[in-house]
């Protein structure tokens, strides 16, 4: 089928970029996946509109914006309770150019199951007015690693066709930086404070993407907003597969991670450069495949940076750089190395 565009795309020069996405009944085709930066800037309109109330320096809207550049047509967005939800929809305003629903904190995957089932029922009875309607979920780490894990696991097991994008800012940022299952070891949060006895959170981050791999759903990947091309391609793959897809996107939070608002993308880049957050994708057929910068590091291990490069620009890890905590830093490095080595052993495209 020839690729088609939204009626208002490409954007005319001087026209506001904040129009709703309108797919009239009967609209056919697919929005093109544009991978050229200039063309993307000229032709793509994000599903999240300007004027939202997310913090300056927040990675979440960048993630949503990039993801929406990969939407292929009519799309319904489901959003778990969290920063993204509260900051984009304070009534009577909304920042969403596409149909959007927020139900509660722990049930975005179950809600998406219902939306997807409705679409299927409409299709079965000839009431769906488009060839397909995609369902994309955005949920934070609290709503995914912790309170929403059951709902996500159930939906994955049942095989509903939706893409779940986890924007992981590694703590409950919306309620004021409390530790979550996604918070890394030794990070400061308000419920894992650095005290005279405890050096921040004492447990490791839950391997959420590997948990989703263990479900053997059609597509799982990791991503960051810094590696935008890699991310956009992954979103499109996640939407195109039949069945559940999961993308774990690292989403820096300048308030919670304690970094300068200008460093959001830099930190995402360093998370990958230090192998703290490797980029990969997984399908049942291919197994783990390293992508983008992580593949480059696997091929040329000299590119791998020490973990300090990731920690040194974040206040939440400040205590780790003190001389008396050198052993903690060493331990963290060893942990990162072991996870990375494990991934290299599993990745089909890592050099042997």
């Amino acid at each position: 089928m020839p690729a088609q565009t939204l009626p208002q795309i490409p954007i005319k020069k001087g026209e506001p970029a904040y129009k709703l996405w309108i797919f009239e009944p009967g609209w056919k085709g697919e929005l093109p996946l544009i991978l050229n930066l200039r063309q993307m800037a000229e032709q793509k309109r994000p599903a999240i509109l300007p004027g939202h109330r997310l913090c300056a320096g927040c990675a979440a809207p960048i993630i949503v914006k990039l993801a929406s550049f990969a939407f292929r047509g009519p799309t319904i967005v489901v959003n778990a309770t969290g920063c993204l939800e509260v900051a984009t929809t304070i009534f009577p305003y909304t920042s969403w150019a596409v149909p959007w629903i927020h139900n509660a904190f722990e049930n975005s995957a179950a809600t998406a199951s219902g939306v997807e089932s409705a679409i299927k029922a409409f299709k079965k009875t000839g009431r769906l007015q488009w060839d397909h309607v995609d369902v994309v979920v955005f949920a934070g780490d609290g709503g995914t690693f912790d309170i929403g894990l059951q709902s996500l696991s159930g939906a994955a097991e049942r095989g509903h066709d939706f893409l779940y994008i986890l924007y992981d800012n590694e703590a409950y940022m919306n309620t004021g930086i409390q530790r979550s299952g996604g918070t890394p070891k030794y990070a400061w949060t308000t419920t894992s404070p650095v005290g005279t006895v405890l050096p921040g959170k004492t447990q490791n981050k839950k391997p959420i993407a590997d948990i989703m791999v263990a479900h053997r759903i059609p597509y799982v990947a990791t991503a960051t907003p810094a590696h935008w091309l890699d991310f956009i391609k992954k979103v499109r793959k996640g939407i195109e597969v039949n069945g559940p897809a999961f993308i774990h996107a690292l989403s820096s939070c300048d308030r919670g991670w304690r970094h300068d608002t200008s460093l959001t993308i830099e930190i995402s880049r360093r998370a990958v450069d230090t192998c703290y957050f490797p980029l990969w994708e997984w399908t049942p057929k291919t197994g783990y495949l390293l992508t983008d910068r992580s593949l480059a590091i696997a091929r040329n291990p000299k590119l791998k940076q020490p973990i300090e490069k990731f920690l040194e620009i974040q206040g939440r890890f400040r205590h780790l750089l003190k001389p008396e905590n050198r052993h903690l830093l060493r331990e963290l490095q060893e942990y990162v190395d072991s996870v990375w080595e494990d991934l290299l052993n599993r990745a089909a495209n890592a050099p042997r």
Binding site: N107, T111, S113, K120
Partner: protein
């Protein structure tokens, strides 16, 4: 009680006679109601609804997407998603399952989604118990749902179909819970009459039609659903500057429920020859009664049997079955009760530290009358404890004595509990 009409549009001989239990009756009603999405999780005594419905799905008898979720919380969450997407959606549960749905019950009502929920009423834990009482339903009374209670298996079938009609009426747009007593109805076989499929489709007007609303950023009225042609945001953050007004919309919608329930009851009567009082209250022998007992659910059958017996003995007793508990019919019920000497309020559930929930409502209903009956609350049948005719008769005897004395000493009584 079922009253016969002389010429229903579909005479009884054209209605299929089936011997099924209450759960199966609900499943048949859902099957005929062109439901798009059913999401459910097993819990006794609701399980047969889901089992039976799964058979319909497995045999291709319905177009419904059946979502066998991993919890009741996800069941309610999924039907919220489905209904927001424009589907007709149904789920069923009981007791602890309903308690687990609690958070999302409020969301379903506040998003104005016409979901239908069957509750096979069962006692809440602990101690764990699988038998009937109404503590589960009483737990959701403030959530913004319409709550209907049925007396028998026929009514479970009829009411489940009616519930879709009520919920989807544009004057209402609220979710409706159909309560049937666990085991007493859910697992009890009864001969009931089913309408032909196409007559149910006709009654409901076919597939669900989504109402249109005015939204300030569209020039025209747009369907209130997740619609790629006219995108809307469902479930936004709503703070002190709008939340209160949105709650008032729910208050107003609740006020419009009784007229719709009555209309639907009347239409059903014309169609099938069956009606349940005015749809809201089902009075029996109340006109000249000194003693009136109010009751919800299947116990009404036993109470009616006892009333009949006592009437034969010349005792002026009567009964009102409360079919609609939310919104509560305060004024209508007060009119039926105000001239009695004593009213016995039967509650199959209790608010610990207070009285039974329907007793509180009836007190409120009668407060403004200068001349009003004495009120007694009978909490009975907790955890499925039987309420046989002898026990109901004992209650009437007590109430007759209270009437003689003209004073009630013990307002809160427990019927059928060991001392």
């Amino acid at each position: 009680m079922t009253e016969a009409v002389k010429t229903p549009k579909i005479p009884p001989e054209e209605q299929e006679l089936l011997t099924i239990n209450g759960d199966e009756a609900v499943a048949y009603a859902v099957k005929q109601s062109l439901v798009d999405v059913v999401a459910a999780y097993p819990i006794t005594p609701q399980t047969i609804i889901v089992e039976k419905f799964s058979e319909f799905v497995a045999n291709g008898e319905v177009h419904t997407e059946f979502v066998p979720v991993e919890s009741e919380h996800s069941a309610m969450s999924a039907v919220v998603g489905a209904a927001a997407a424009g589907a007709r959606a149904f789920t069923a549960t009981a007791a602890n399952g309903l308690a687990l749905m609690w958070e999302i019950l409020y969301i379903a009502a506040s998003l104005r989604l016409p979901i239908v929920l069957a509750v096979a009423n069962r006692a809440l834990s602990a101690p764990i118990n699988i038998h009937c009482d109404h503590s589960d339903a009483y737990g959701m009374r403030d959530s913004g749902w319409v709550q209907l209670f049925v007396e028998n298996v026929q009514e479970a079938y009829d009411t489940t179909i009616q519930a879709f009609k009520i919920a989807e009426d544009e004057r209402v747009l609220l979710p409706v819970a159909v309560n049937l007593d666990g085991f007493f109805l859910s697992h009890t076989l009864e001969n009931i009459r089913l309408l032909p499929d196409e007559k149910v489709h006709e009654f409901l007007g076919g597939y669900r039609k989504v109402p249109k609303v005015k939204v300030d950023y569209f020039d025209e009225e747009v369907p209130l659903m997740l619609n790629p042609a006219r995108p809307l945001s469902f479930g936004p953050l709503d703070l002190y500057d709008y939340y209160f007004e949105h709650k008032m919309h729910q208050v107003e919608a609740m006020k419009r429920v009784p007229e719709v329930v009555r209309e639907v009851n009347d239409k059903w009567y014309e169609l099938t020859g069956r009606k349940y009082g005015d749809g809201i209250l089902v009075p029996y022998e109340v006109e000249d009664a000194d003693i009136v007992v109010t009751v919800l659910g299947s116990t009404a059958g036993t109470v009616r049997h006892v009333v009949k017996k006592l009437r034969r003995e010349g005792k002026k007793v009567g009964m009102v079955r409360i079919r609609m508990f939310r919104p509560f019919p305060h004024e209508e019920l007060a009119k039926l009760l105000k001239d009695a000497k004593v009213v016995g309020v039967m509650d199959r559930g209790i608010s610990f530290g207070s009285y039974g929930p329907s007793f509180l409502e009836i007190n409120t209903a009668l407060y403004d009358y200068k001349e009003k009956p004495l009120l007694v609350n009978y909490v009975y049948g907790l955890g499925g404890r039987d309420a046989p005719p002898e026990l109901i008769e004992k209650m009437f005897e007590e109430l007759l004595k209270d009437a003689e004395k003209g004073v009630v000493e013990n307002k809160l009584r427990f019927l059928g509990v060991r001392e």
